[in-house]
């Protein structure tokens, strides 16, 4: 892998600076069995209400909120309350974890063996562990790891066990549960299973949210969410599922908890176990169903070398300080406490929390290097980055994650407003692609300008932006980072304008775009392989839907897409303007999220 050569020499220094500790080193020297059986005395939350997993169930079922929803559902559907309550109880049975220390010990033993074979080293920042130890005692903790691989989940529990931290309960997708035996094992190691989608099901939502909130309120265990909802195929952060964050923030808003700590955790791999699977998935080959036999077949990965793995525990983010002055908690005062339906949504904060979360990850990544970030198809950014100096490169890194880059004309001097308009357009266009807080565009713009200025790339006066000579390489890199997205979106828009017929269904869209892009590539008219990625295509479609270039029409069972060719054309034009001539332009990038850590 190209990236490896680039980063390996940095290791010794990195290790020292960030206090990363290779945890496998010690494991290789001592007995796995003794390790698995060692005395485990975790630090506990000071306000812990001791209760067993079985008690948890009755607390949830008796809770005012659930009782209220049960009555509501029963009066709406006409079913008897007992039936609905029974249903709730079944949902809970299906969902609930049965955390057992013995299973965890078993996993610890097995994982020791596996990790030692798979990875050269597993590096953890000890400082982060200490911070977590503190945080765990003070307030209930929600762990928010990034999700790149199935490994993440096992790794987190393994690490917390190792550092004598309370074992987390983990929200896992229902698909794991269908795996024979393994599903139950996961359940006993703290996983609880949720359906992938349950938007309309009031009862399910009530059971689920009450279950999570009860565990949080009692300080039962840290709760682990994969906010991205699913493993990121491209290693790029995905737009988060804010519903889960809403749930964990609510006890604070309603005063049931003094505070909740959100602890972002970044897990990155030099090489991901599922890398070939991901590439295939993005090219349209469906994901194999999770099954135990599949897992056994995947044994062969054990014989390969996956390099090092880095786990970075970020700074705990206090929900209280995050929302201070931004939300009036007293608005909950006039409603009965069991009622969560009529309450104002706090999505915006959830999003902010998430952005802070990614910020931490990014800071970490920028320190650590480029590891873990790579497109499955070729690495245009990486190759160009090699030519850049370390400092500029790191800044570029930061810019990239913010996601947005903006071009204007060739001129070295540009009018500020034009740049802003262009920036705003792209920000709007790519808001499905990158995590952006709606409404923060001015703030983002200013921050981006500031950062670029600080790097000596730009000079921003009241009305103009002047590009400095030394900033070329940075800008070149930044534009090359965004280039695949620009080109990819253009391919999609070209497809929509040129190839579509009247009744294009939503299902056909992705394969059709893929074929179109493939043709272009084979014809040599397109160099950018990212256009093949189904993720990008989906996001592009969502963007066009949002910007009214395309609308959905329901015909019978099928959803067809109606293209407004004029609108799409003009969008493409604007994209195109920003395209071709990238380097010499001024740039701005949005970045609500990063402060410079270094």
């Amino acid at each position: 892998m190209a990236s490896r050569a680039l980063y390996s020499p940095r290791h010794p220094m990195l290790k020292k600076r960030d206090g990363f500790e290779d945890i496998l080193e010690e494991r290789r020297r001592s007995s796995d069995l003794r390790y698995a059986l060692r005395c485990y005395t975790p630090t506990l939350y000071k306000g812990l209400v001791p209760c067993k997993a079985s008690m948890l169930k009755s607390i949830v079922l008796q809770s005012d909120h659930l009782q209220y929803v049960i009555k509501q559902v029963s009066s709406e559907s006409g079913d008897r309350t007992e039936c609905v309550a029974e249903e709730a109880s079944l949902i809970l049975d299906e969902m609930a974890h049965r955390l057992q220390l013995s299973t965890v010990r078993f996993f610890a033993f097995m994982l020791n063996k596996a990790f030692k074979r798979l990875f050269r080293s597993v590096c953890v920042n000890e400082e982060g562990i200490q911070r977590l130890q503190q945080a765990v005692q003070e307030h209930p903790v929600v762990l928010l790891p990034s999700h790149r691989s199935y490994m993440d989940f096992l790794m987190m529990s393994y690490l917390l066990y190792m550092y004598d931290l309370p074992l987390p309960v983990i929200a896992a997708g229902m698909d794991f549960m269908s795996m024979k035996f393994v599903g139950e094992m996961l359940r006993m190691s703290g996983a609880f299973f949720i359906r992938r989608s349950f938007g309309g099901d009031k009862l399910y939502w009530a059971v689920f949210s009450e279950y999570v909130k009860t565990m949080l309120r009692n300080g039962y265990a840290p709760i682990e969410f994969f906010l991205e909802g699913t493993r990121s195929r491209t290693c790029k952060s995905l737009t988060p599922k804010t519903g889960l964050l809403n749930i964990v923030m609510e006890p604070f808003f309603k005063g049931e908890l003094f505070d909740v700590n959100l602890v972002p955790v970044s897990i990155s791999y030099e090489r991901i176990l599922e890398e070939s699977l991901y590439a295939r998935e993005l090219l349209g080959i469906p994901k194999p169903k999770e099954s135990t036999s599949g897992l056994l077949k995947a044994r062969r990965v054990l014989s390969e070398d996956y390099g090092s793995m880095y786990v970075y525990f970020g700074h705990p983010v206090s929900v209280r300080s995050l929302t201070e002055g931004k939300i009036t908690r007293s608005q909950y005062n006039l409603l009965p406490r069991y009622d969560t339906c009529n309450q104002p949504r706090s999505e915006c904060f959830a999003l902010k929390a998430y952005i802070i979360h990614t910020k931490h990850l990014n800071v970490f990544l920028s320190q650590q290097g480029f590891k873990g970030f790579c497109f499955p198809f070729g690495e245009p950014c990486l190759s160009s980055s090699r030519t850049l100096g370390g400092q500029a490169w790191r800044s570029a890194r930061r810019q990239f994650f913010s996601g947005l880059v903006d071009f204007t004309n060739h001129k070295a001097i540009c009018v500020l407003d034009d740049v802003y308009n262009c920036f705003n357009f792209l920000r709007n266009m790519f808001s499905n692609e990158f995590i952006l807080c709606p409404g923060d565009s001015v703030q983002d713009f200013e921050e981006a300008c500031y950062l670029l200025m600080k790097r000596g790339v730009l000079q921003v006066s009241e009305h103009e932006i002047v590009m400095s000579a030394s900033g070329h390489s940075t800008l070149a890199f930044l534009s090359s980072v965004l280039d695949p997205f620009l080109q990819g979106y253009q391919v999609v828009s070209r497809y929509l304008c040129e190839e579509t017929n009247e009744n294009l269904t939503e299902k056909e869209f992705i394969p059709a775009v893929r074929n179109f892009a493939l043709k272009l590539i084979l014809a040599g008219r397109l160099k950018c392989y990212e256009a093949l990625s189904s993720d990008l295509q989906k996001n592009a479609l969502a963007a066009f839907l949002r910007l009214k270039g395309v609308r959905k029409v329901k015909v019978g069972d099928q959803v067809t897409l109606k293209v407004n060719k004029i609108a799409v054309n003009s969008l493409e034009d604007t994209l195109g303007k920003s395209d071709v001539i990238s380097y010499q332009n001024s740039w701005c990038s949005s970045m609500a999220m990063f402060e410079i850590a270094i």
Binding site: K254, G255, E256, F258, R329, S330, Y332, N333, R337
Partner: protein, 615 residues
Amino acid sequence: MASNSSSTAQQRLRIIAGHLQKRPEDEHPSVAAQECKAETSRSNPSSATPVPKRRQEIMKWNGWGYSDSRFLFNKKGQAEFTGKRYRLSGLILPSLKDWFEGTFGANLQHKSPATPTVNLSAVAPPDLNEPFVEDLKAAGVAMSHDPEDRVFRAHGHCLHEIFALREGRIGRVPDMVVWPSCHKDVEKIVELACKHNVCLIPYGGGTSVSSALECPREETRSIVSLDTSQMNRILWIDEKNLTAHVEAGIIGQDLERQLNERGYCTGHEPDSMEFSSLGGWVATRASGMKKNIYGNIEELVVHIKMVTPRGVIEKSCLGPRMSTGPDIHHFILGSEGTLGVVTEVTLKIRPIPEYQKYGSVVFPNFQQGVACLREVARQRCAPASIRLMDNEQFQFGHALKPQVSSIFTSFLDGLKKFYITKFKGFDPHHLCVATLLFEGDRGKVLQHEKQVYDIAAKFGIHYKKHLCVCVQDLGMDYYVIGESFETSVPWDRVLDLCRNVKERIVRECKERGVQFPPLSTCRVTQTYDAGACVYFYFAFNYRGLSDPVHVYEQVEHAAREEILANGGSLSHHHGVGKLRKEWMKESVSGVGLGMLKSVKEYVDPQNVFGNRNLL
């Protein structure tokens, strides 16, 4: 006990004297620290004189209460309560020192003594409105512009006010004090004040804890403090209707004592009743400890007479309830001196209860305690008073226990402690205690008691013991400052509110550089059908802080925000004053505030009652 053997004969005498003062209904030998304030009125004839014009002669000018009664640490480092007025007076409190040092990290070596007397040169010369003074003289109203008199009436008992006095800092003070002796005098004063455009600030007991008595800095007119203390007579008692017509300047304990002599009581016993006045209760919507039987002030008043710049406001009859539009009494109750001076009040009175009984219940934790109080309220069988203290206060109560006088009582104490902590398995760091007071005729009290203890048995255990709290001044001598504030909150939010506010206090103190963890504690003092009144006490050791009062205010501000965020009210009975004004709009809505403002506008267009409270 070592201290026991070395105690002097004099101390013994004092202890014996203390025992002799014990109330007959107090049966238990180990019950020691009695509710001090409630008791004085009955057992102590020495305080029988009404408040003199020169209050500073008997009261502390820079702290709470009488000059001769205070906590101090004697030469041996033991805490002692001086004076003869209270049951605790003259007693040695051996555990207080350890508690004090342990809780606050305070050291008795580090003293921060107060300025012993008023620094009169710091008082600005009075800015008198001569024509007003002349007219007043002609009308024959008593007045003074002596600096001590003026300083005494320039403050309530907010921490920042007292602290400034202790350090000898004196801000804007009234330019003059007047003492009307009857309703007519007040009418005259208000009329003249309007005529000559001076600012009037009514002053009753001076026990405000909401900065209500502070003179507004922006006031440019001459400020006249209207001291109602000489209007202190009971004008008549109507035994047929069980009402009494009383002048509003009367101090709570005097009212109660005089009524007691006739066989009656009002039953209104706010914690401040030793010093607070009837008019003050009306003006702030006061609440008494025994409101479960007698009601809060708004339920006690039958008729109010108030002098406003527009004239006198009163109802035309003494009917027990009227449907004549919004109750005009409610414009007066809680008006905090912004509309006029309450001069006379007709109050309900009750025959003195035949029987009183104190008791306590110990709970394994605060949650159980609150659950018990909630159940008692649900069944509507609350005794005259029921108060729940959290663990920190329970420990403080223990620290106030006087030196044990015999081996037998110390043995009994040990036995009780053993029973609760070992036999029942209550953790001494979590257990909390509720104190109860039953009142009425003997048979009913016993029956009532049984009902309550039956409920309590589900949550905790019955235990007899009683406590009292008032050590702010002592703390201040040793770099510790603290105060209390209150709120009312629906039942289901009580626990969350208590926890969050206490935690917020600790957190804020830490952030502001307080070196030792603060004392942050609460008690539930009143129960209602739909909620409870919660009292917070908060104190910290301020050594090492350059501006402790500012830190204190910031923390208190944060705590109030936390209360409001958690569904608590702005105030249950202390009032708004100037301290909590900023939240009024949020609390009563813009329209609500507008209504109050338009009343003020009509009643007092010149803003003669210019203390700028509330609005």
